[in-house]
Amino acid sequence: MSTAGHEAAANAPTAGEYIVHHLTHWNSTGHAQKDVIDFSVINVDTMIFSVLMGVIGLFVMWRVAKSVTSGVPGRMQAAIEIVLEMVNDQAKGIVHSAESRKFVGPLALTVFIWIFLMNSMDFLPLDLLPTIWQAITGDHHAYLRVVPTADLNGTLGMSIGVLLVCLYYNVKIKGFGGWVHELFTAPFGSHPLLYPVNFAMQMIEFLAKTVSHGMRLFGNMYAGELVFMLIALMGAAWTASATGVSLFIGHVLAGSIWAIFHILIVALQAFIFMMLTLVYIGQAHEAH
């Protein structure tokens, strides 16, 4: 008993190693990323799981849309209708141009469902997919992170996508000349001395909007994932003693509580990302 425990302790990673291993992406270079910023690295796990979640979301929506009935709706249709109505109401309240809403409404719905599904990857047991992946590859140190929104590359990619849509609508609604005019005259007013100040303010606004949009989702999901890891570590440290058993009970309790609280965060962050997408696109429609 005790020798087996000692052997396991010798092979088992320390708490720090466990967390660092779980925070490392499976990327295109084949080993852990060394520099903090390296644009030549592609995180393969983020790509695979985000595309997979997008495909699942599209497939479910397609199935429901195909079998839609005007009679008594099934449970799935009712659920999708509630989401659709909620997004549609928000879009109507924020983006006033009916023509833009033809594109912006479905965009908001896609963003909401996609991010919700990606965030929901957090609910899978922490080691489930990485362990399966390590068994498949035969490499016991293979890296895999399953939550695409807990990767800054994924969330900033989406927020930059929103920025591009905003720029498109700025040019489309106000015309290129009108937009440039706004860049130099809003928010402080039209005076040659104020042009540089206005322009700097506008640039800061665009930058802050985009960065905070992506960072907010990333930070929430990253912190949530880390807390799940800490809870898993607490359970992993259990032994057949009084304190060991209480650690195990604490693991189950804390894990359940955090998972329930996390349902709120997952839905709320998807909702906030969608709302801010609508708000930013709505701002692009307003002339100063």
């Binding site: 708490a15 720090g16 967390i19 660092v20 925070l23 960072m215 907010r216 990333f218 930070g219 929430n220 990253y222 912190a223 949530g224 880390l226 807390v227 800490l230 965060i265 709320l268 962050q269 909702f271 906030i272 709302m275």
Partner: protein, 82 residues
């Protein structure tokens, strides 16, 4: 080395503690105002609830980002001398 570890532990505590103070004050103020407003005008409750949850998420975000960073400092210490 020990100095670095000690300072990082202190910093992680400060990040979480100060963030929690700010987030709690913010949520408290907003929740109080929400209860007050819906007591005055109960018909606005649903509309205000959506906005309250949105803002709660926005307020929480900064704190949770802080917790994430503090946890990373504590377990995957980037300041550790190699």
């Amino acid at each position: 080395m020990e100095h670095v570890l000690g300072f990082v532990a202190l910093a992680a505590g400060l990040i979480i503690g100060l963030g929690a103070i700010g987030a709690c004050i913010g949520i408290g103020l907003m929740g109080g105002k929400y209860i007050e407003a819906s007591a005055r005008q109960p018909e606005l409750m649903n509309a205000l609830q959506t906005k309250m949850f949105l803002l709660a998420g926005l307020i929480d975000a900064a704190f949770l980002i802080g917790v994430g960073i503090a946890m990373m400092f504590a377990f995957a210490n980037p300041f550790k001398l190699v």
